[in-house]
Symmetry: C2
Subunit: 167 residues, 2 copies
């Protein structure tokens, strides 16, 4: 297998591992999958003007979260409020350039919150169609997430439609 | 100025140039700002399994657009349907790692469509709060856009709120 094929396969696996950690509510696994500046050899004590390896995350409809503190706290909250979540990934596209990989995919999500009353097994299940752009960085410990931006698809957009949404 | 400071400044300028091209409806400038595989020395005739330098773009509420054809066509449509658009960028954050830069920013947008009736100057102005993650790649011709993902902020999310939006 060529190096390019291997890269694409490894990135695809890292992307799958990210969603599996969410499905399993595995906070430790999730924390390990997100990049740290030390993964890139940056001394955490050093004030780095380029903010090398500083992560960011946008959940659907949310503002930007920046840095491991904010990002991981948001996942702890989401996990605490989600009893069941499953991702069916479609349209996974990988573009690798040097040590960075860009993944776009459609997250077909089925999720349920905590049971609304004692005795019930789950809250009502909700289906969502979400689009994600995930940026991974190559490290000595494998590909790690540098950025995740997810948003809901509000309307089907066919190419012959006249759509005037801004950038 | 250190190399890190220079990188951050150059990336910030490339990010500003992207929004200026949109404000001015300058399709040629916009096309030049988006990455091409040839910018990275990839032969366009070669079937590249890693899709090196292949761009992607998500407008608010839209599905993913992949490749220069789809992405640039969407901007031609948007420009054709937008008589006036202005971006006030806030919360611009730049993280540079090697030859890749990640920019997050808030796009405070004011826009107007074509005049609904002859004689009117502009359609009604609409304000929008949009969050963007822009990924730039260093090339011999400056920093170029590899990915743009934009989404609307649907609700304010303060840290002490209990929010259960999924990933």
């Amino acid at each position: 297998m060529s190096a390019a094929h291997t890269d694409v396969e490894e990135v695809t696996q890292a992307n799958t591992a990210f969603y599996e950690a969410l499905e399993q509510g595995d906070f430790e696994a999730l924390s390990t999958l997100w990049l740290t500046p030390t993964d890139l050899g940056v001394d955490e004590e050093y004030h780095d003007p380029a903010d090398t390896g500083v992560i960011s995350c946008v959940h659907p409809g949310w503002p930007v979260l920046t840095g491991r503190g904010e990002v991981l706290r948001s996942y702890a909250l989401i996990m605490a409020n989600t009893d069941y979540i499953q991702f069916f990934l479609t349209d996974v596209h990988v573009s690798v350039t040097g040590d960075t990989a860009l993944v776009t995919c459609t997250e077909n999500i089925l999720s349920g919150g905590p049971a609304p009353e004692a005795g019930a097994e789950l809250g009502p299940l909700v289906g969502q169609l979400v689009i994600a752009t995930n940026v991974f960085r190559r490290t000595s410990d494998g590909w790690k997430l540098w950025s995740h931006h997810a948003s809901q698809v509000l309307a089907e957009n066919s190419e012959d439609e006249d759509d005037d949404s801004p950038a």
